[in-house]
């Protein structure tokens, strides 16, 4: 029997019991529609989370100089000053996946402007620092190339600092003192608000690395070019682990650390945040997968049930078709096609409802919705496979009927 005839016969059979066919496909309709709406909302939410997380700088690694050990007393990370500018330059030169890199030192000082003063922390930074940390300028042009190369006394201040020192006044172009050194304000950062641990991210000022080294950092006994930390921005979050490994290898090489010896530096990625993101994604996918799976199983069982009833009801028809020359394969294909038509029809209607539902949700609610056509395609494929899977047993049963018994069947 040709495919067209099989389809025609299946459509004919389903039309004969159209209410039953429609009710049977209802399970698949509801399942597929629910899946599409939930996946759309889920993906929209996920996209928002991703945006938020990448705002925190999730694609980054931080290298700190190692924890010291002076006569058995371990000092904190960064106390040893084992990192240098040259390490940063070498990483940039040798690891292409690194998009941004900035070496830096940090400290705290009292800031003074006119009669106002404020205690805050400063960072001596290199140009990429702002990109790595997603800092944007609200006012001014920020630090320029010549500020870095000339170790100029320019400063970019955070919103909290600006509020406390300047209040209503215009900060840009004003002169402030950091400790005893006068600096010119060349930029105000756009506020970021609270950080992941509740700290005020805007309570900070940034100056060129070289300036910080010469003017703010107290000690003179450090090796030339020493820094406390190197921040790395990686192009793609997936490369983080790989880049971390590469950085570690390169740093051990540069620092001539013998195999087995302890590193004099440590590399940290924002592991908690990335892990949280991964876990969120996974839980979300699992939940949605479970919903999809359960609804399709329930729908599929409904189809199987009805197909079994249908086979029993039509035993004589099956016997007759066999007698006039239908082979087991013909019978099996016919019932399989019926099951697949039910589930495909349900899938198509469910998809339509799901897409409309998603659009309605995005229009009338605050929930972020992201409709992905791959999900729609997947839903349709799933619905057809459901029919195929759950229709197989009834179809097989029909095809294995003994034509003599089937013809003799009463009822």
């Amino acid at each position: 029997m040709t495919l067209t005839d099989t389809l025609r016969t299946a459509v004919f059979a389903l039309r004969g019991n159209w209410l039953r066919s429609a009710l049977t496909s209802l399970g698949v309709i509801i399942g597929i529609a629910a899946v599409i709406i939930m996946v759309s909302v889920g993906q929209g939410t996920q996209a928002e989370i991703n945006k938020m997380v990448s705002g925190l700088g999730s694609n980054r690694l931080d290298i700190s100089s190692g924890a010291g050990n002076q006569g058995g007393i371990r000092t904190g990370a960064g106390s040893q000053w084992t990192l240098t500018d040259d390490d940063a330059a070498a990483i940039r030169a040798q690891i292409p996946e690194v998009q941004y890199i900035a070496a830096g030192i940090r400290g705290g000082s009292q800031l003074v402007y006119a009669e106002n003063n404020w205690s805050t922390s400063w960072q001596g930074v290199q140009p990429d620092f702002f990109d790595i940390n997603s800092w944007k300028l609200a006012q001014g042009d920020g630090l320029q190339a010549q500020d870095y190369s000339g170790a100029s006394k320019s400063v970019v201040i955070g919103e909290t600092v600006r509020l406390n020192l300047f209040g209503e006044e215009d900060a840009l172009g004003q002169s402030i003192r950091i400790g005893k050194v006068p600096f010119k304000v060349v930029g105000v950062l756009a506020p970021k608000g609270q950080g992941g641990f509740g700290q005020d991210q805007d309570d900070i000022v940034m100056v060129p690395l070289e300036t910080a080294r010469r003017r703010l950092s107290g000690s003179t006994s450090r090796p030339p070019g020493a820094v406390q930390q190197i921040a790395i921005g990686v192009t793609r979050a997936e490369d983080l682990a790989y880049v971390q490994e590469e950085v570690e290898v390169l740093m051990r090489e540069r620092h001539r650390i013998a195999p087995g010896a302890e590193d004099d530096f440590s590399v940290r990625n924002i592991a908690e945040i990335v892990a949280t993101r991964t876990a969120t994604t996974r839980i979300m996918s699992l939940l949605l997968g479970a919903v999809a799976g359960i609804s399709l199983i329930v729908g599929g069982i409904g189809i199987m049930n009805i197909m079994l009833v249908s086979v029993t009801e039509r035993i004589r028809e099956i016997g007759l078709r066999m007698a006039v020359g239908a082979g087991p394969g013909d019978i099996q294909r016919q019932f399989l096609t019926e099951a697949m038509l039910i589930s495909f029809g349900g899938g198509a209607i469910g998809t339509a409802i799901g897409v409309m539902g998603s659009l309605t949700v995005s229009k009338f609610s605050e929930l972020p919705v992201q409709l992905d056509w791959q999900v729609v395609a997947l839903a349709v494929v799933c619905s057809v496979s459901t029919g195929l899977f759950f229709g197989f047993y009834p179809a097989r049963k029909a095809s294995q009927l003994d034509p003599i018994e089937a013809l003799r069947h009463q009822g």
Binding site: M1, T2, D5, G16, E317, R321, V324, G325, G327, P403
Partner: protein, 231 residues
């Protein structure tokens, strides 16, 4: 020129539940030859084995032993798919209960077997119209079985049996569900089909019906006896 036999059985036997206490020898070494163009009746009381013989001849069942050549093809070697193909090409069935599909009109009932022969739909329709015309139901194509009398329904079923132009028509109690007058019409139709060259095998328990055939065989306890040309 030797006679062409459409049916040729040698020591054909069918044993149900062999080797158990419920063993039944339904068919016991039947030798039967039916030439092309014959109109033969097989009679017998119920339980005599005539249904078993019909199922075997109709390629709906396989023998326990012996051979059966259906239009020259040895059936014992065939699987279910191949048997179905053989039924499609060689056999037309007419049943006591007509076995029409009530949701299809007469024309579509007649066309149905051709779908399994992969005939294009236009060919099917014209062949079905021809077949309906041959059984005298030219104007009844769009009628559903429920709208037709018993005799008309059986003629639709005969048209369906004829549509593949099979060498063998196998009719199982075709008049059993009809009153005697309508049954007579059907028998006349069979005689006419015989004149046109069809081979007709009629299974019946009714001696009067069997008498209309050219040749009568009687089944008794699984054995086949030739009773020759009816008196």
């Amino acid at each position: 020129m030797s006679t062409h036999y459409v049916i040729e059985t040698k020591a054909l036997s069918k044993i149900y539940h062999p080797g158990t206490q419920a063993e039944v020898v339904a068919l016991d070494k039947v030798d039967l030859k039916i030439a092309a163009g014959e109109f033969i009746a097989i009679t017998g009381a119920s339980g005599s084995g005539k249904s078993t013989l019909m199922n075997l001849i109709g390629c709906l069942d396989k023998p326990s032993s012996g051979t059966y050549l259906c239009d020259g093809i040895d059936v014992s070697t065939l699987d279910r798919e191949a048997l179905a193909k053989l039924r499609l090409e060689k056999l037309g069935f007419v049943f006591q209960g007509f076995n029409l599909l009530s949701r299809m009109d007469a024309l579509h009932n007649v066309m149905m077997p051709l779908a399994y022969a992969n005939q294009p739909i236009s060919v099917r329709e014209s062949l079905a119209r021809e077949a309906l015309e041959a059984v005298g139901l030219k104007d009844r194509g769009t009628h559903f079985p429920g709208e037709l009398s018993g005799g008309q329904q059986q003629r639709v079923a005969i048209a369906r049996a004829l549509i593949n132009k099979p060498p063998i028509i196998l009719a199982d109690e075709p008049t059993g569900a009809l009153d005697s007058r309508t049954g007579e019409e059907i028998l006349v139709l069979f005689q006419r089909l015989k004149q046109e060259g069809h081979t007709i095998i009629l299974i019946t328990h009714d001696q009067q019906v069997a008498d209309r055939a050219d040749r009568i065989c009687v089944m008794r306890d699984g054995k086949l006896f030739e009773s020759g040309v009816p008196a």
